[in-house]
Assembly symmetry: D2
Homo-oligomer: 348 residues x 4
């Protein structure tokens, strides 16, 4: 089997990472990559790491050609996929689509409108889309035609907090998440704040009053406990890749010691190929996961007090974007879930 792949949106880091992974996957063939402003240009001139790996030129969005693919990935700014996907699915009812943007992640169209400032144009597809976090929706993903690939922060935060809520050991509110991302999360867009001269000097929070990934995270946590409520503060650190999230929840009474908490996490992910629970006392480093599709977790209960701390690290472009998209695609096509992904990271 060779699966014909179309990629809409190949300018950014997510698109580039997806091309790298597609090139290394034995069952896939990249048919076309679109990029509005770069159409006609050699892909590897924009992404020199792909010289010798991808020899396509960027094309404009050609609905017919995309609809002739087996699977289309959309790695576009929000607002694009919700307009394109209905057209493609109408043109080819057998097509599978994985959207890496935010367009199909929130089930509630009015909530989407509230955070993105415009009405959702494809409420029907929104209702059908499956949230592509395999650890929680594996079966639905396998059957889905349209998968909403999770955001990077949400992947790190949900994988760390959901098992605690699931277990009923912690209070659903308030939950805290302080997360640090590398600059690639902000995209390959020329902005002063992401210049090395600016972002290279230190750490800072941003969007502390409200980040668009918050409703997505709470929606997922509320699958475990309907009243889950999270305070989420994202930060920028001087690194290209990686997310590290530090998650805090309050234990209900004295229901669980540290070992029980660790056991809960370990059991939950015992058979997951891409979640690694460290031994007690561990501290995951985002730098160890570069290029790999792993989410690495550790759990602490400091001083035996009533607060549990979960540490969660991923590569934002892999498990937080392109890698998870490929994992979803493997599930949707009945391929081995880990195919083309590997597990190790590149360090130093």
């Amino acid at each position: 089997m060779t699966i014909k792949v179309g990629l809409v949106g190949g300018t950014g880091y997510t698109g580039a990472e997806l091309m790298r992974l597609v090139a290394g996957h034995p069952e896939l063939r990249l048919d076309c990559v679109t990029a509005r402003e770069l159409s006609g240009k050699v892909v590897s001139d924009t992404h020199p790491q792909l010289r010798g790996v991808v020899d396509l030129v960027f094309s404009t969005v050609d609905n017919e050609r995309l609809a002739a693919c087996d699977v289309v990935f959309t790695a576009t700014p929000h607002g694009v996929a919700m307009r394109l996907v209905p057209i493609l699915l109408a043109a080819n009812p057998a097509l599978k689509v994985i959207d890496l943007s935010a367009d199909f992640r929130l089930h509630d169209a009015s909530e989407w409108e509230r955070w993105y400032g415009e009405p959702h144009t494809a409420p029907e597809q929104l209702a059908e889309a499956v949230y592509g976090l395999p650890e929680y929706h594996r079966e639905a993903i396998a059957k889905a035609q349209l998968v909403a690939n999770p955001g990077c922060y949400p992947t790190a935060v949900i994988l760390g907090l959901a098992p605690l809520l699931e277990s009923g050991l912690v209070r659903p509110a308030p939950l805290f998440a302080s997360a640090v991302s590398g600059t690639s999360g902000a995209g390959r867009i020329p902005r002063v704040a992401q210049l090395l001269s600016e972002a290279g000097g230190g750490v800072s929070a941003y969007n502390a009053s409200g980040h668009r990934h918050l409703p997505e995270i709470e929606q997922a946590l509320r699958e475990q406990n309907a009243v889950a409520e999270l305070s989420f503060v994202p930060h920028l650190a001087p690194m290209g890749r990686g997310i590290h999230a530090t998650l805090c929840a309050q234990l209900i009474a004295d229901m669980a010691d540290e070992k029980t908490l660790h056991h809960t996490l370990q059991e939950r992910y015992a058979h997951e190929p891409f979640v690694d629970v460290m031994p007690l006392g561990g501290h995951p480093r985002s730098g160890d996961l570069r290029g790999g599709n792993l989410c690495r977790l550790a759990i602490h209960r400091p001083q035996g007090r009533g607060v549990v701390v979960v540490l969660s690290a991923i590569d934002n472009l892999v498990k937080g974007a392109a890698g998870q998209a490929l994992q979803n695609m493997n599930l949707m096509f009945g391929l081995p879930e880990s195919q083309g992904l590997g597990v190790g990271g590149l360090a130093p």
Copy 2:
């Protein structure tokens, strides 16, 4: 007036930064710098940034010479100052001492023993030492003979959380602090974890189960509210200098809107030369404060919910160590508090 300065412990980054500041202070003259293993070596061979600034050689600890100074700074690993300071104070009852280590920060000797694993050898001095956070103990510092200079994390966390506790607007427990530090906080000590090859690749938490700065922070917060309790998770990020702390507390009922919270913070520090409260919506960047003695704060109340978020940034080696020590010294000698300190930071 020329104040004669002795520095015990000149090998590390804190000692070096203190030498830089002392050299720029018009009333100070550095008389001697000790360093056990480097005695006889030129100071600026170890700290090339001081070539042309400090032309001393390191000496061994000479109690007589140190006691003949007007002020002695100790920038040594814990356990050293508590043995040396009583000897120096006995030799020169007019001597003033500022200890930049952890030896005199905790009022309770048994608490000190619990965190540092050995009995405190100078309980008398421990009882007399003043905690050198000028924003909360200015008058006592001015009269003190022995000042315990605060730790770097404690400076950032206390300055951010104390006003909220003081105001009575938030619950004293649980409080959350997720703080990120540059590698200089770990000292100029050859360790694998602080190699650029390791720490340069990403972010990681460390000592999530208990960091020695926790009891120091809680001791200070309990001056505002006796039952304050903090969950504190420190992290390492790929940068040399700087601390950024993200602090969360739960509002009591609906006692204060965002503007009131901001006003509370602003009023508390309105006359402080080294605390800068940003306008509402602000996000301090640790990188903007390099070399300056400033603590920069911002406050948010995300989505109008019941959680308040304070962002706090400092240069760990200046306001978090050597700069604050100099600020304390200015107070102890009746000099203008800001002398030799400046306010601006070096960016990029």
Copy 3:
């Protein structure tokens, strides 16, 4: 004496650094800062490191106000100062101007046109401008009305190579300079190549076929030897500040051993406040010079062969721009040359 300062172009890193230095200089008062697109905005919103240091708002270019200053610094893209300066000098014949852009650095208007792609609009001023490298033109600078402040690479390269040419010990051609700069050298301009995600990952050369600083360097070297010819390759490294230049020249016959070469360099700069020649065997680190106005040099003659290697490091924004501008201003106004500059750097 209080000198009234005007700054044209306050958006970039050079302008911001100049404001920091002006604020710390006891004889200067910053009267106005212009920035076309930010006019009316608070300066420290753009440069948060200046909060509490500079409390001006950006203004538009007001020729009358600028001409009423004692000194005007122009820190603008090339092509701006050559149009503005003649107007200001006509309006106020007593005004002194220091141009930090490239507009007055090349003596030859046709050479300027060749590298900058448009005719020079102020050939008269070009002829009168003094090249502001104090170590080589101190007396002329002191008498000058218009000083062309050297580029960052030229400062590092000329200070390292000129003494060797002056001594007659090396061949004037070919000379080699491989220099590495931090990203702040490219300015505070949103460009993909300077994003942390791009520049943070490694080192690369740029403009290897010809960089605009080349003619400026050769012009200066030819003051020492009329046939000097340089191969110059600039690079970008993952750091915000700093330049490190590695300079190679071929010894004429066997005219000088390593000690003689070192002595030549040391003698040349023995009385220079801002050039530091390291002992034999030294290696300057650009990171030790951050915020300081120093050029640090070291010299090697590897394996006693016929090639001499000079290593040269500066802070590109200080000795390579704003600091040198202030040094020139001190000379032009008869102030102590080092006033407001200090010597030390900030490390780590």
Copy 4:
């Protein structure tokens, strides 16, 4: 076919990278990894990026077990392999050995002694060892029993300069190489100079008076022209991985224009799977090659003058160490040369 692999020296970055590549190679099985001081410890505790990839514990050096392997890689400090390899080869005359240290790289034992300060203990094997640069010794490598894997700087410098010497278009002396490396080249050894606090702040040269990779490079260049002589200055930059080398040579008379020079390079490597010659005007970035086995080259003839500049970039741990070792192993065992290596890099 499954090839049984032994690795001597698994503590460092080279050993870890080799384990990553071996784990991804379909024909290899890692039998044992030695590490004197870590024997008995889990490999992935030292190298967390290998959690889930390598599940061995470190062992002590067991000659019998090593000799029972099909191939042994030695990734040890110099002086170790030259003592061990003769023993292993005596025990198993069919064993193949690839030494990643410096022990077998110099053909001349007295030259080795001069640079490493002790007599070579295995002059016989030294004489037989093949220098493992496939682009120049492919056939000899395929037949070799003992391969000396090239150093990281030598790989980058030789691949860039050798074709020019081979072509006869440039003078063999003096040649210039200014090369910049990430900190991983200095190994996973706790040293102050490689701390992020030190190396993170800027760029500096080191060993400018003579680096041990110089004789190795000159030996290789002299295969092309017997009187080749190089000035080589290595530098450290704030990055974990990567080498960028800037190489200069003088053209003989006016023998070649830029296009001819480019064509020469391109032709030389037209069929090489791991050398990528960029189009004219290109500038390789070391950051684009992370994790890949590629050497990327570009060539310039600035201003049409008599100097040619070659830019050369590699990942120091892959093409500069472990990747090239695997490439050599593929050749020695008759496997496809690219197996288990891929070509792309990880960026950002």
